[in-house]
Amino acid sequence: MRRFTALLLGICLATTTAIGGGYQVSLHSMRNIGMGLIGTSLTYDASSYFYNPGAAAFVKDKFSFSGGVSLLMARTTFQPKDVMGQYHIESIINTPLYFYFGFKPFEDLSIGLAVNTPYGNKLSWGDEWQGRYLIQDLAFKAITIQPSFSYKIKDVFSFGMGLVIAMGNVELNKAIPIEGQNGVDAKTNIKGKATNVGFNGGILIRPVKGLNIGVDFRSKINMKVEDADATFTVPASMSGNFPDQKVSTSLPLPANLDFGLSYEFNEKFLIGINLCYVFWGAYDTLTFDFKTKTAALDVTHAPAMYENKLIPRIGAQYKISDIVTVRLGGYYDPSPVPDGFLNPQTPSMNQIGLTAGLSVYPFKGFSIDAAFLYVMGMEREGTYSPENFSGTYKSQIYIPGIGLSYSF
């Protein structure tokens, strides 16, 4: 059976990884993934430090640890407009990780740390495809480390705040429409790193027992890459126009304003909703500023024109016994990319996500958490008009994941 599975893995899997309308990755805790990715009003464990630092003070235990990994398997199909043949994104499997730790030195105060990867995008269209002058492959990942505190006033209100340190790296390859006498395209590779800081702050209100209302704001972080390396593979006669050099660029990690509401009907059953407003409008243009300007290299502007979007999410959990808890959820994540700017660098579609989750408690305080997320990227026809590149995209993403939580 194991072999069969491995075989299937080899045959069928391929991926992109941005799961989210743009390049936001929302895989931050198995318990939350199981419930439609909601979290702003939940107080399960130290994962609250990411979802809403305001909620962390409501976590009951003195110590809380949580960590896990998702296996992100995505596949995107592209049908170029009016041209025969289809392309499939080649296989790359991505494994976003998370780790949270919370500690309550006093009953009303909690301090903690959140480490995860809230933004990323990784895809490979291959070197020979029709859109190779826009993108061949791209890997972008931002890891955030967030030291935080949370303070509770009575059992009705708490607030919290964290400093978000984001460290990102990016690498992309694309072809240049200049052919050598061997017929091979010129190529560019850009590789860089960036670090910047932002904040994450939120509040939680518990007006009556069982009802949680949370609001959280994560600030925009501008990932400014000052000295990325740009390398060019071009025909010798063109090398003067394409010297290897430094290039600067920046990519915004957009701000998020999340509102969450959840209600515990009884000891066993909880239901919650989240409204997540993502300030995608921050991603207006991707600019590359080449340090050594030539006839071919200057400041290039690639319009992105992203638009702010609201993501509604819903989730529920049911405690079957002291040992087993199950969860279900779903959400709708509208694409922030307007028509006319649909770029194969980030093939963005409206997405519907369906989730299921399971926690098993072998002993008190310790759980093995599993979740499964299915994301359907709805078929979308569009053009990236700045490069006149058109076609239809569709994607499916399967994300099983497993994590461990321990609180005492």
Partner: protein, 439 residues
């Protein structure tokens, strides 16, 4: 439990196979592409870089069209294959051009078209019937000349009978669909000889010839596509050397030139930087020097002897005789000549539009398409324009297209065909075809 997990996992993976998007379903509409014949000149043959050679011919626009037609019931498409990558050799033929380095008389080494010498095919008959009747050098009325195979070795390569007229080749092929792009040479020969070495085909001759060619193609109602004639004065051959390309770099030189012109009694003044070249002008009132300065809008041909201009004063004052040395008229299109060309093309295009109308043919407006190219076009991240070498659409002879340029032409034909006949022939992926190749 473990087994259950594996089963679950396998299911997930299977379901993870690629998302389905409906594939294109090419449809022939009211056209029948089973026997496609293309008729025309060098642009139809796949001529590029000053030669008809293997790889460019293989991707001639009719060959690309035929490849797309095959997705909707099209049949085999045979070309008179040139096996050499260097072209066909016959008296008067030139070798293929490639991009390479050459050193000018000023000692400057630069990148530009240079001859690419290699073994060429002999113009011997290929010995089989072909679908691509594209004949480099052919004018409209040449297709009605008996024994044209003896005059044009490109036709000689595939003529089924050396005494044939080209149009006699068409009915035996029994085409169900044809493309016709002919008539460029009827005005191009005049233009590339600076308006002195060739004549423009008269409108009546052109009309009669085109009528006869179309007649032999349509037979009893065969459908087809016809393209009109672009403004050939927009091509790089006429637009690479500017009329005011005379660059005077120091005031000392400017003063000397102005002094000399005064001495010769020529009323031309020069200044620092760009100045118009002198061109031969037989109507000049000057008793000795029949010259004038070029005017904005006039064109210098790519074939102008550049060493003479750069090192020996052609276009200004000869460094040998120290007298005014105009560019000979054969290397220049004057405003009158340009007007003649434009008038002829406008007339030709009226004829072509009329033929399309009469016979229900799809019409490709290449005239407008070249205008679009002039201001720049964009496909799949590739920018193209009419600039020489860097524009990507025109090959190194400045007249014919690159394979990428021909692929774009194929798409223009497909657009018109689909619009006229309700077909859904897919477009060509132009990124598969190279532009100018750089060393």
């Amino acid at each position: 439990m473990k087994k259950l997990l594996y089963i679950l996992f396998s299911f997930v993976i299977l379901a993870g196979c690629e998302p389905k998007i409906d594939e294109l379903s090419p449809n022939r509409g009211s056209a029948d592409f089973s026997r496609y014949v293309s008729v025309g000149n060098s642009l139809v043959a796949g001529y590029a870089d000053g030669a008809l050679y293997y790889s460019a011919q293989k991707n001639s626009f009719p060959a690309l069209l035929a490849g797309q037609f095959q997705m909707a019931g099209g049949g085999a498409f045979v070309q008179p294959v040139v096996n050499s990558e260097f072209g066909v050799e016959f008296p008067g033929s030139m070798p293929r051009l490639k991009l390479g380095y050459s050193t000018s008389c000023t000692g400057v080494t630069s990148l530009g078209p240079v001859p690419d010498f290699g073994p060429r095919d002999q113009p011997t008959p290929v010995g089989y019937q072909v679908n691509n009747l594209g004949i480099p050098g052919a004018k409209s009325f040449h297709l009605l000349v008996k024994g044209y195979a003896l005059l044009n070795p490109y036709y000689g390569r595939f003529a089924t009978d050396p005494n044939n007229m080209v149009i006699q080749e068409i009915p035996p092929l029994n085409p169900t669909f044809f493309s016709l792009w002919l008539g460029n040479n009827d005005v191009l020969g005049y233009a590339t000889s600076g308006g002195v070495g060739d004549t423009i085909t008269g409108l009546k001759t052109f009309g009669d010839a085109m009528g006869a060619v179309v007649g032999s193609c349509v037979g009893t109602g065969t459908k087809g596509v016809i393209a009109n004639i672009p403004e050939i004065t927009s091509i790089p051959f006429f637009n690479t050397i500017p009329y005011n390309g005379l660059n005077l770099q120091t005031q000392e030189i400017v003063d000397q030139v102005n002094f000399a012109m005064g001495l010769f009694g020529l009323p031309f003044t020069y200044h620092l930087g760009q100045n118009p070249f002198l061109v031969a002008d037989p109507t000049s009132p000057h008793p000795l020097f029949k010259v004038r300065q070029m005017q904005p809008g006039e064109l210098v041909l790519l074939t102008v002897p550049r060493d003479s201009m750069q090192c020996y004063g052609m276009g200004i004052i000869s460094s040998l005789t120290l007298t005014p040395w105009p560019i000979p008229n054969q290397f220049v299109l004057t405003q009158d000549e340009i007007t003649n060309i434009e008038t002829a093309i406008a007339g030709y295009n009226t004829v072509i539009a009329g033929l399309a109308q009469t016979h229900g043919l799809a019409l490709v407006d290449m005239n407008t398409k070249l205008k679009n190219l002039k201001s720049g076009i964009l496909w799949d991240g590739i920018r193209m324009n009419t600039s020489f070498v860097t524009g990507g659409a025109f090959s190194l002879d400045g007249v014919h297209l690159t394979q990428r340029g021909y692929a774009v032409v194929a798409n223009y034909f497909i657009e018109s065909i689909n619009a006229e006949f309700g077909s859904t022939i897919p477009m060509v992926d132009i990124t598969k075809y190279p532009g100018v190749l750089f060393p």
